[in-house]
Amino acid sequence: MPRYIVSRLVATALMALLATLVIFLIANMVPGDPVLAQLGDVAASNKAFVAEWRAKWGLDLPLWERYLIFLKGLLHGDLGVSIASQRTLLENIGQYAPATIELATVGFLLSLLLGVPLGMLAAIKRDSWVDHVARAVSLVGVSSPTFWLAFIMLALFYGGLQIAPGPGRLDPIAFSPPTVTGLFLVDSLLAGDLESFRDAAAHLVLPSIVLAAATLGLITRTTRASMLDNLHQDYVRVARAKGLREGRIVNGHVLPNALIPIVTLGGLAYANLLTGAVMTETVFSWPGLGRYTFRSAEALDFPAIMGITLVVALTYLLINLVIDLSYALLDPRVAR
């Protein structure tokens, strides 16, 4: 086991290092001269000035040396400066992350709470109408463009029926609760402000449903397939032969085994949630990382896009590391 952990840690660190190299190379293959883009024609025609400018930003150094400088900056948490906001990326990401974490957590819980029971039912009652409904739901969920689903929900429940609040995290005239964690649901409770809590919760409903739709299909199908696999195992037959009740067999024996593959889904689900967050937040004016990504792309704010990509990739690696390790805990054979 310790050897497995060490080897996973080393592999992850190596991948992280390579990921920074990939980002750096993408950032430096920008066609078009950054000098021209930043200085304008008049300044760019002055050779001495250009040379000085290149030296100032280290553009006269060879590529590998620039990469080392970039790495050194990263170790100090320096992800660069966003062109559009003129603030460091670390500040921006710190500001926008809580909104996304709140939305993604609620969305993910929702997709688990709906997807696992739906997948279970579909497996137990195979080829019944429940199974067909589950299949339809997951197919439509996987096939819907998230940005469109978000728009439809907003147009229908806010614009048309007017039973849901509009875009944003809170009512436009409401004050946000005093910042402790940045998660409005938690902060409002900490401040004892139930009004605020209800407002924040109401604003979460539509976007979290949209976000959940993206992963729901994945979770439903995986649960169903894994349940079916386990339902045909010998240990189920033994349990039946012993005379255990069917409910006991399913909940006590099959489900715990069937849920193991769901854990490995974590990485994939994270990628889905993130893609979903970019689209959902854009449509719902949700002030999180997703909308920040969209805005950076729209403004071609290059350092911002690179910084976000790197943070996302590192988080992804970290999540996969946690999954690998927890998988080894759940199934010790993996670590051997």
Binding site: L139, F147, L154, T275, V278, M279
Partner: protein
Amino acid sequence: MTAFDQASATLAALAPARSKGQRWRRRYGIAAIGAAIILVWVLIAILCSYLTPYSPDTVDVSIRLRPPSATHWLGTDELGRDVLTRLLYGSRISLFTGLVVVLLGGAFGTLVGGAAAFMRGRGEELIMRLTDLVLCFPPIILALAIAAALGIGTRNTIIAMLVVWWPKFARLAHSLVLVQRSQEYVEAAVVVGLKPARILLRHIIPNAVGPLIVLVTLDLGNAIITFAGLSFLGLGVVPPTPEWGSMVAEGRELVEQWWVAAFPGFAILSVVLGFNFLGDGVRDWLDPKARQR
């Protein structure tokens, strides 16, 4: 007609008589629906200039944001362009980019992954670690970064998508070829003295092709949705090219004029659903074990 006759007729109607047609429907129904949807969209893409009296980019602000009516079935957008016309023309770019990305990315990934499994050793290690590296980025985010670096435009977005697209095919082909490699017919081919490239292309890949076909079919919908997503984010096509993702983006704040964004998104849903139905059907067909699940 006696009461008995009537009752037996009712019973016959109620009984689950498994006619040939019913069995066919159970077996291929979903794939057939998917294929039909795709066929309709392909026909639309080919014939769209004959299907509509309007042109996709004629601007007429005097009729902007008109709701669906007899003259403009799906209404008009902010610049007074006919939404239905733009939607029909939009099928061209979606189908085209989907096909290009999946076929090119799939072919490249399959060859690279297959070759890696076939040659083993250092080369395999290098190629598979490279796939791991690309796969450690969520696809749309990496495509976004590359597309932003290359600049806006259909060609650049396709390139960006290709960079993130091949690894999953490489992985699948790698594992498929690994399985085939240990089969006796491969050993026989080696003994007979066939060249490795010939063994790989003529013998191993055809035997491992089933799961690849399933992945291609399912992935076409995926590629279409991703391209539309990148266009929605402003990176795919250059305006005023009619494209579904960018049409949704143009209408995303018009909650009152829902038709501008709602219909193009529905077009994406239908075509992606078509490919997913077809892919599901093809999987059941090629892999009877999966059907039982």
